[in-house]
């Protein structure tokens, strides 16, 4: 399971960076989304994957005895997903707006900020 996740994370990061380096605006956003998902899976992986051991303390004991699934990474991923969802929604609206204003989705042609006023 871990090996599989490691490969998937590597692929997501590589594909994300590759897409970000393309000139198209849409591919740029796709790249960012892939990178974000890669980071979320990385948190999941590094939080140590444990199967079928919820962190529930039995009523007869007062602390967790054996190995248990750490709930913190899941809370972190949930937060990160919500945040990246909001940011990606903004980014998608932004590229739509940029396409309307600049009339191109080629990043190389977006040079208005470099013009000498």
């Amino acid at each position: 399971m871990e090996i599989l996740l490691v490969i998937i994370i590597g692929l997501l990061y590589a594909a994300g960076i590759y897409m970000m380096l393309r000139r198209s605006l849409v591919k740029l956003i796709i790249g960012l989304i892939l990178l974000g998902n890669g980071a979320n899976l990385l948190i999941f992986l590094l939080g140590k994957i444990v199967k079928g051991k919820p962190p529930i303390i039995a009523s007869s004991e007062n602390m967790l005895g054996e190995i248990y699934a750490d709930p913190v990474p899941q809370a972190l991923i949930l937060t990160a997903i919500v945040i990246s969802f909001g940011l990606q929604a903004f980014a998608i609206i932004l590229i739509k707006r940029a396409y309307k204003v600049v009339k191109t989705d080629d990043l190389d042609e977006m040079n208005a900020t470099d013009e000498d006023l």
């Binding site: 740029l28 980071a39 140590k48 913190v72 940011l87 980014a91 932004l94 040079n111 013009e115 006023l117």
Partner: protein
Amino acid sequence: MNNPYIVLPVILQLFIAILLMFSWSNKNIQKLISVTGSLTALVISLLLLIKVDNEGIQIMQAGGWEAPFGITFVADTFSALLVLLTAIAGLAVSVYSVGSVRNARIKFGYFPIFHLLIMGLSGAFLTGDIFNLYVWFEIIIISSFVLLTIGGEKAQIEGAIKYVTMNLLASVIFLTAIAILYGLTGSLNMADLSLRVAEIENRGLVNVTAILFLVGFGIKSAVFPLYFWLPASYHTPPPAISAIFGGLLTKVGVYAMLRVFTLIFIPDTFLSTVIMVIAIFTILSGGIGALIQNNIRKVFSYLIICHIGFMLAGLGVYSTLAIAGAIFYLVHDIIVKTNLFMVSGLIFKFKGTYSMRLLGGFYKEHPKMSLIMAIPLFSLVGIPPLSGFWGKLLMIQGAMDQSNILVVVFIILGSFLTLFIIARMWSEVFWKDGPALPEKKHIKYYNALKPLKRKAMVGSIAFLSVISLGIGFGAEWVMRLSIKIAENLMDPTLYIQAVLGN
């Protein structure tokens, strides 16, 4: 000391933003709420700094969960000082916005988003939890995205694409670094991390994580070679927005670096060399970039980069004196950079252009105004006894003590470049006889503004200029604070004890 009131600067900004949203359609009430709210925030932050300075580090355990399990808010002198500076810059920009931001932008929610940005900044300075820091960073960037694009002009949108991409990338790298750090230590509390990272035997992996943090924060604070988004975007929004960006957004990256690289990752020779080399190239590329620019706002954008290099050099030298210098410089830089972007906006209101070639004769036409503008300009250069001088003096002393001649040379070179650039700007904009500029119809010139708006713009610039002078002439007080902060950063025992108890 457990003290729930330390989050008041954050809560207050949220409260102001909510109030502003309820008065969405009435721009006069919005302006009133924004200014009085910012004034209240300033008073509260000042009280917080005095309390922290007198009584030591104040902490708050959110929800009563003891550290390291809950989220901790920590107000040490460093955090409290930066919260105060945020409040000062926030007040100045809020007043300046009353005079300079167009109604169309106010209608689309300029003021509420502005206060959410200030909330994010205060939160980032106060948190003691690395993942919570990430969340505050996200609040900061989402608010800054909206502020940058509000109005939707072509240059703004294009600048925003570069800005958004790089900041999202920085967030992903920061998140990756947090993931690895959590995998290594199983903790997120910064004080707890400080203890646990020191125990890890695999130093190579620790260094890789540290470099990931350096890259993440480096993009946010615009260091070489990750700064290209800054000069592409900071000159596009209205001056009030550039002012808050230039003053505070890059500085929160510097704050995070100073915090993380003194508390969690103590730099070894490798890491401090990397930081030092980056600092030197940042100073050079910022300074040389500013040399060839013609748009005054772009010149200031490149100067931000150049001066981020100074602070990084202070961190790279890694001695109490050098870090105290970096902190003094940070204090000075926040006030002066905010002020300079506001000055550029005022010049635009008079002349209708940002181009140095077209500008001129400002001193002859407005001698009193020019004198107020001269204060931030020459503070930036650091002519003694103005505020920029003392921070550099401390840093050079610190580098000399470590016999780190390279850093001394480049700090002096950076200062010299700044001097040359500002002197050239002074002669181009203020002294030379400029060409007669045609009146542009779509610009509302200064003389056409209502007296209240004029007073708001000039008043906020004068306010920050007075504070700059105060930092310069009251350097002893700021220096005492900086040295105290640097001592606490170099020896984080107090911080760790305050958070974790015993």
